[in-house]
């Protein structure tokens, strides 16, 4: 039995997202909390930038939930870099217990499942689930140097630059999200141990990066509070609760093309969805929102084909967050991917629709392709994994 139902409600207190400029131009551009002008964000390397994205996403989510950093019992997160470097480096700024997780692009699903189980079992009260990915750092770790003049394959996906964080809690959320101001995010962390000289340097870099935050799209800036999706002034009508989920198996159908990860992940997603539907006795139409992770346009077609062979037709509102992330004009071929992909969409677009009561019960299936740079060279095939969790919205 891989499907579970939680006995106690596990509330989603808040979600916070930071994305890069290209993502801000994409289909979900209006829903994100921060859109950056420059995806280096005044740092010296893309890895440092990714770590900062994640740190500030966690800080923003905690603030938005109306909590203090000390209120968080456990932080859980992961990313795509070697040995979870950006998550671990982000976690050193918080005085909380930390669990690092890795399931490639489905890390967010893993974090949500483990986090809600911990809260349900009474082992923790507040948990943050965060993941991040960065196009440039992923590109150089998994593929080629950025400036190399090669062509991307038509089946390739674009690693999303972005980080998001969800705060899970055993307490019901407030009707109004706390406002997050620029200073709450871009600030010197108490946990950082810096000497005088470095502190000065750090403060200067903060001054510089405050100018970088995109004024047009940031809802941290007062003028933007009236944007349709980012309305902080209006009290929320609904709150979101994690109700259960299905833990995925590693499925390998022998695809060895690292430029075609959607096809590696689609069988795993199909398996998880099938298992979830049989074990929970639900029908796809019982959900008014089904979201898979980052299968991409071709992977989405594969998943629909695989499920149709089993006699299951996904409803028309089924959405793949990777395939829908970018507009076709942005030339990402199959769409977005990466640990930040499903996370940033869930914490912005999906969560806001849940909180406005537009979605009642949804199934989120983050998917991941399990490989590193060496396994395809050693002629290994690429297995996939997918986790599913269900979220319901309830009225206040």
């Amino acid at each position: 039995m891989r499907t579970f139902r939680l006995k106690n409600p596990v509330y989603i207190k808040s979600g916070f997202t930071i994305v890069g400029p290209k993502e801000g131009d994409g289909n979900f551009g209006d829903c994100f909390d921060i859109v950056l002008h420059d995806d280096l964000w005044c740092e010296k390397s893309y890895e440092k930038c990714e770590s900062k994205l994640q740190r500030d996403a966690i800080a923003g989510a905690i603030k938005k939930a109306g909590l203090e950093r000390n209120d968080i019992d456990i932080m859980m997160g992961g990313d795509l870099l070697n040995e979870l470097s950006s998550t671990s480096l982000a976690a050193r700024n918080f005085p909380c217990a930390f669990l690092g997780l890795y399931n490639a692009c489905s890390t967010f699903g893993e974090a949500m499942i483990v986090g809600s189980m911990l809260i349900d079992g009474g082992f923790a009260k507040n948990i943050t689930c965060s993941t991040s990915s960065h196009y440039s750092s992923a590109e150089r770790q998994y593929r080629f140097p950025l400036e190399l003049g090669n062509q991307r394959q038509p089946t390739a996906q674009w690693t999303v630059t972005g980080a998001g964080c969800t705060v899970l809690s055993a307490e019901a959320p407030l009707r109004e999200n706390s406002r997050v101001y620029e200073d709450d995010i871009v600030s010197v962390d108490e946990g950082m141990q810096l000497d005088e000289k470095e502190l000065e340097k750090y403060k200067k870099s903060i001054e510089k990066q405050k100018k970088v935050i995109n004024i047009d799209k940031s809802n941290i800036i007062e003028d933007n509070f009236s944007r349709e999706y980012n309305d902080y002034m209006k009290p929320l009508s609904h709150y979101a609760v994690v109700t259960g989920g299905t833990i995925g198996r590693v499925i390998d159908l022998g695809i060895d093309d690292e430029a075609n990860m959607g096809s590696c992940m689609a069988p795993a997603a199909a398996d998880t969805i099938l298992t979830h539907l049989t074990e929970s006795g639900m029908d796809p139409s019982d959900y008014d929102g089904i979201f898979t992770g980052d299968l991409g346009r071709f992977g989405k077609a594969n998943l629909e084909y695989l499920l149709s062979r089993e006699g299951i037709t996904l409803p028309t509102y089924y959405m793949d967050t990777g395939a829908s992330y970018f507009t076709p004009e942005q030339k990402t071929f199959q769409g977005g991917s990466g640990a930040g992909c499903v996370n940033t969409v869930f914490n912005s677009y999906i969560l806001k629709r849940l909180q406005r009561g537009e979605l009642k019960r949804i199934l989120v299936v983050p998917t991941g392709a399990l490989l590193n740079k060496d396994t395809p060279l050693q002629k290994e095939t690429i297995p996939g994994i997918a986790h599913a969790f269900t979220v319901e919205s309830r009225e206040f």
């Binding site: 890069g20 893309y46 150089r140 950025l146 003049g149 630059t161 093309d257």
Partner: protein, 123 residues
């Protein structure tokens, strides 16, 4: 008029060579390093067969600017070295024939590596 014809030949042959590579890329999803190695070996092979010299006469830079020219220089240098100064020439001839290009590449790599940073792609 003659110069126009020369350039036309260079353009056509150079373009054709690159187009063959593109067909390989489209069909086999081969990576760029493998393509370069493949063309280098083809160049060396053509030089050994003696087919490179007439090609060079015909198309000039159309065959020497593609990496085949690099391969043919390596092969030619080694053969000339072997004929001129025996075994030692056979060993050192190849690299000394391409030493200029290699040195420029390495020095450029070092200098631009120091001063330039890679940027994120926008497309």
């Amino acid at each position: 008029m003659e110069i126009f014809l020369t350039y036309l030949k260079v353009f056509a042959v150079g373009g054709f060579v690159c187009m063959l590579g593109q067909i390989l890329i489209n069909k086999t999803k081969i990576s760029s390093a493998r393509i370069l190695v493949l063309y280098l070996l083809i160049g060396a092979l053509l030089e050994v067969c003696g087919a490179f010299e007439p090609l060079k006469k015909f198309a000039g830079s159309g065959v020497t600017i593609p990496i085949m020219g690099f391969g043919s220089n390596l092969a030619k240098g080694a053969m000339e070295g072997a004929a001129k100064s025996g075994m030692l020439g056979a060993i050192s001839g190849g690299l000394s024939a391409v030493a200029a290009g290699l040195t420029v590449a390495i020095v450029c790599g070092f200098v631009f590596g120091l001063i330039a940073r890679s940027r994120s792609k926008k497309f």
